[in-house]
Amino acid sequence: MTDQSAVLQDVRQGMIPAHIYNDKEIFDLEKERLFSRSWLFVAHESEVPEAGDYVVRRVLEDSFIISRDEKGEIRAMFNMCLHRGMQVCRAEMGNASHFRCPYHGWSYRNDGRIVGLPFHQEAFGGEEGFRKKGQTLLPAPSLGIYNGLIFISLDPDAQPLEDFLGDFKFYLDYYTKQSADGIELRGPQRWRIKANWKIGAENFAGDMYHTPQTHTSVVEIGLFREPKAEKRKDGTTYWAGNGGGTTYKLPEGGLEDRLRYVGYPDEMIERMKGQWSQQQLDVIGKDGFMISAASLFPNMSFVHNWPRVEEGSDEVLPFISIRQWQPISENETEVLSWFAVDKNASEEYKALSYKAYLMCFGSGGMFEQDDVENWVSLTNTAAGSMARRLLLNGRMGLLENGENVVEPLTPEQYSGPGSTRVGYSEYNQRELLLRWADHLERPARAAAQLHVGVDSVSAAPAACATETAPDAAAAVPAMTSQEA
């Protein structure tokens, strides 16, 4: 593989080699070094509310069954039969007590345990030949849940999820914990765009600068009242932990006035007051900022907006959407976009919030449509030879000497954690790309091959490490899969 250190060096200066948005070598590195070790969102607990409920989600080419077993535990299992590798679940969602491989009939409980192995005695000589007891579908190497958001990592030694989220948890709560019972998700809508996955993540992380141009049409038709140029830049960008996002400046008033301004009904406001910390409430009520879009490294994003959804009314109504930019290749991304809503909201609110989401974002959303047009065009052009000569200037907010155009807000001005600034900048996009560059420099963790059904075969050498990382964990011994 070509040495990419010059690329990473440029990225760290805020100068972005344009070809990283359509480059197979870069994508291969991302697969090997980034998506093999980062925490990745796969589902929300509300998608599998009952015992036996499952959804199937991918991490690039790897298919995982996310299920709730009979004891109510959330499981994430590699969707591949231990025998000949067939997918044991070929539906996207459903409810099942067992998954059975259609090839040779091995079957597994919804917690992953093998329960059926046809002709175990005749074909394998029973336990002596294939030790069935305690064998399970391969669990995701790491699994973590925050506010019902289910993440997995292919790295068995991933840092704890909450450490990875860090101060971004403060912001996650606005989207996912508006009341004690949290959110429920619907969807996802899924569609494929001919754009590199990083562009969407960067856009949602901090691109306030595009809204006055890209999204003029939605203001002109009366759908949205906010993104006028002079309005948008009064908001902040914040970066905290491994995620960051943008806010809108709210009009004068107290906490309740401001939450009403974006369309929250009083009963929801009351619950928010009981749910969020004083610091979280102060960002809105004291500092006057309302969270908007955000991204969590590497490929999860959020959006919170408040359009007009009914004819002849000035009322707006907020919606929340969660999405994932699932890489397909260097120039194609599958977008998964969910509608999220406070589980304790009224049915009427849920219906109108859903309407607001459909009109604005997702596969048919009127904001979204114009974004993707840009991203496809950018990706196309990034494939060419001229793009290899062009360093895109991603230094917005910085003077040439590295000093800030605008200084960060002080704790007196802004109550939330992280680094926060008013106005247009690309601090957050740079933060995402810094993490991206760090990953691309660190080889994939050595991972042991897993021998299933036998004890006597010795642990295999590292299977997929192309280089030995100094910090790579020692090869994990062959998994004996004692039942968890």
Partner: protein
């Protein structure tokens, strides 16, 4: 294949945004192809396809009833016998006249970049079956539609295949669309967005 009622309810009625949707359902066998009602419905669908291809959206909207419910559910792949193949509570498009009118109004601005330059569109409409309903002035029309969409001068064109079930209502000035349920044939759409109508 299309919006067959489940538990006596159309998908339109099951939508949380479908309260206003006309409830009229088909009765009896499909009409013969030389039936006058069938001919009128077929003509309406073909004329509509021409309007959509030409992106003459004002004219199209004029043929849409004020109480329209325009629904495109999210299809999901489920096991045989699961009893559903659409994502519960989620759709790609779940529209009333107001939200359709906002979409049309957006195209008329100078800033709807996703259609500037405009896509080249071709709606292929076939397999038309029509049915009487319990109302004399309303008929159900089923059709298959294949949409070809070409954007820009490079890149692959996108196609979308779907089945539709429409409720057409006769008014003083002709037929209008009172309900449409669009069942896509893919669960992952291979098109950059749905800035089009099916």
């Amino acid at each position: 294949m299309t919006a067959t009622p489940v538990n006596g309810m159309t998908l339109s009625e099951q939508s949380v945004l479908g309260a206003h949707a006309p409830r009229t359902q088909r009765t009896g066998q499909s009409l013969p192809f030389n039936d006058e009602l069938h001919l009128q419905a077929h003509r309406w669908l073909v004329d509509e396809a021409y309007l959509l291809d030409a992106q003459d959206y004002d004219e199209w909207l004029a043929r849409v009833a004020d109480d329209v419910h325009y629904l495109m559910p999210v299809r999901v792949t489920t096991a045989l016998g699961a009893g559903y193949s659409t994502s519960p509570g989620m759709a790609h498009l779940d529209e009333n006249k107001y939200s359709l009118s906002r979409r049309v109004a957006r195209f008329a601005t100078e800033h709807a970049w996703t259609e500037d330059p405009p896509s080249r569109l071709r709606h292929y409409v076939t397999n038309v079956r029509t049915f009487r309903t319990e109302k004399a002035d309303e008929i159900v029309a089923e059709s298959a539609v294949l949409l070809f969409r070409s954007r820009g001068d490079v890149g692959e064109a996108a196609t979308v295949s779907a089945g539709r079930e429409d409720l057409l209502r006769r008014t003083g000035t002709g037929w209008e669309l009172a309900r449409r349920t669009i069942m896509l044939d893919e669960s992952v759409i291979r098109m950059q967005n749905l800035a089009i109508f099916l």
